[in-house]
Symmetry: C2
Subunit: 261 residues, 2 copies
């Protein structure tokens, strides 16, 4: 009855009081992540019902649920009662909620304006020290560099400089972005099978230089918020490094450290 005793591969205590056995649900979680990552279940599609997964993996439904719980918590899966469990897809709402933190400063409710992206340039290049460090690649590795201006309510507010490794995005060209109504993370996902699942950001204050001042319509020496973001896929694999400069005269960066109730 008790599965544990049927499977001798678990609970392997090493000689010298070494590493502990991984909980079964963590293993299921890993298998689920792998299956998603391998493309068996596509973004936006439903994964099999929990009872099916429990049969497939030969574990109790409760164990599957605990694994799914964590993936839902990490925004990799989305549960919908009565419908099923789905692989999170990168739509605009998701981007705005999880990856766009600029809000109008006079809004108490922290509602967000949707940015309008205008590409300034698209170039090939070699990773500098900073880019290499953040992307976990060697210096001089080939990268793409994309520069955008983001407008909020018609005014240029954000200047983005994006760096991504060429190896991850084969045959990417400037025209790939043309006429795409979706977000760039949706493009990563739909065209290159790369799913951004989380990001880490570092912020500091900067003075606007001549170029940025012109782009954002501020004076040289105006204060700008600089954001350095590393976007990561499964297993914290770095995917994109982005440096943003934000005119925070009427907008702010909102950081809610609230937990998931």
């Amino acid at each position: 009855m008790h599965r544990k005793w049927e499977d001798s591969s678990r609970h392997h205590k090493l000689a010298a009081g070494a590493a502990l056995a991984t909980p079964l649900y963590k293993e299921i979680k890993r298998l689920l992540t792998e299956t998603i990552s391998a493309g068996e279940w596509k973004p936006g599609a439903a994964i099999p019902a929990e009872w099916m997964l429990s049969e497939r993996f030969k574990v109790a439904v409760g164990t599957v649920r605990k694994a799914v719980d964590e993936l839902v918590n990490e925004n990799i899966l989305i549960r919908q009662q009565g419908r099923g469990t789905f692989v999170a897809a990168h739509n605009r709402a998701r981007l705005m909620f999880h990856f766009f933190h600029i809000v109008k400063s006079d809004r108490v409710d922290s509602a967000k304006d949707t940015p309008l992206v205008e590409m300034l340039s698209f170039r090939k290049g070699s990773a500098n020290i900073e880019e290499a460090a953040h992307l976990g690649i060697a210096v001089s590795t080939k990268v793409y560099r994309i520069r955008n201006v983001l407008r909020l309510v018609d005014k240029p507010i954000i200047f983005d400089a994006i760096t991504i490794p060429q190896a991850l995005f084969p045959k990417l060209t400037a025209s790939t972005f043309k006429g795409r109504p979706n977000t760039i993370y949706h493009l990563y996902q739909s065209a290159f099978d790369i799913t951004v699942v989380r990001s880490a950001e570092r912020l500091r204050a900067r003075l606007a230089d001549i170029e940025t001042a012109e782009l954002l319509g501020v004076k040289v020496g105006a204060p700008l918020l600089e954001i350095r973001r590393v976007a990561m896929s499964f297993n914290d694999a770095p995917v994109e490094f982005r440096r943003s400069l934000v005119n925070t005269e009427h907008y702010e960066y909102f950081s809610d450290l609230a937990k998931n109730s």
Copy 2:
């Protein structure tokens, strides 16, 4: 056997397809929070074992666990296998981990320096519009205002202006802070029974004015990171409004939106 049918107060469907019954574990969570908030279990102390709670509340242990799970997730409770479950106390490690986000910019590991706090002033006053809005109180409500300079590795890096309602902190005086080796949130908790459980922060870039420039040892017009924090207790009740100005020449604000694996 099934508790649901013994308790008729739950599952109350209102006439016009109205509000849903609250899950039992949410109710248990509320009771736990209330009990902590009422002071029956003190910060740092263990709460009763799960089986005791399950008897006390007349529910299954699994239901208690689910409630405790969420409170652990919100950093209100701390589980320690083999020892028990404890009410989170505000020690320095906890503060640094959850409420202090300034890291040295050249450190990849995002290790933090411990700030040395020097109080500049302690005054009574009346809430202005901004303070009132953030603290959820009426304009002109009586408040305390505390101004600090925080040094990191001997250099003044942060200027803090803290505003708290007098009603929440009876008989607070400047000398209350004298010779306290602990953090201010520890003081709130130990001397006033106010536990800060989460915070929301808004960031922007600013230019240093004369006063701040002098305090932080930078030039007038130097770029500073401004952080407006609202610290909250249980049920998101605002407790403290803090405006920080940070010299981000060698330090950064680190925002990791990682989830709890």
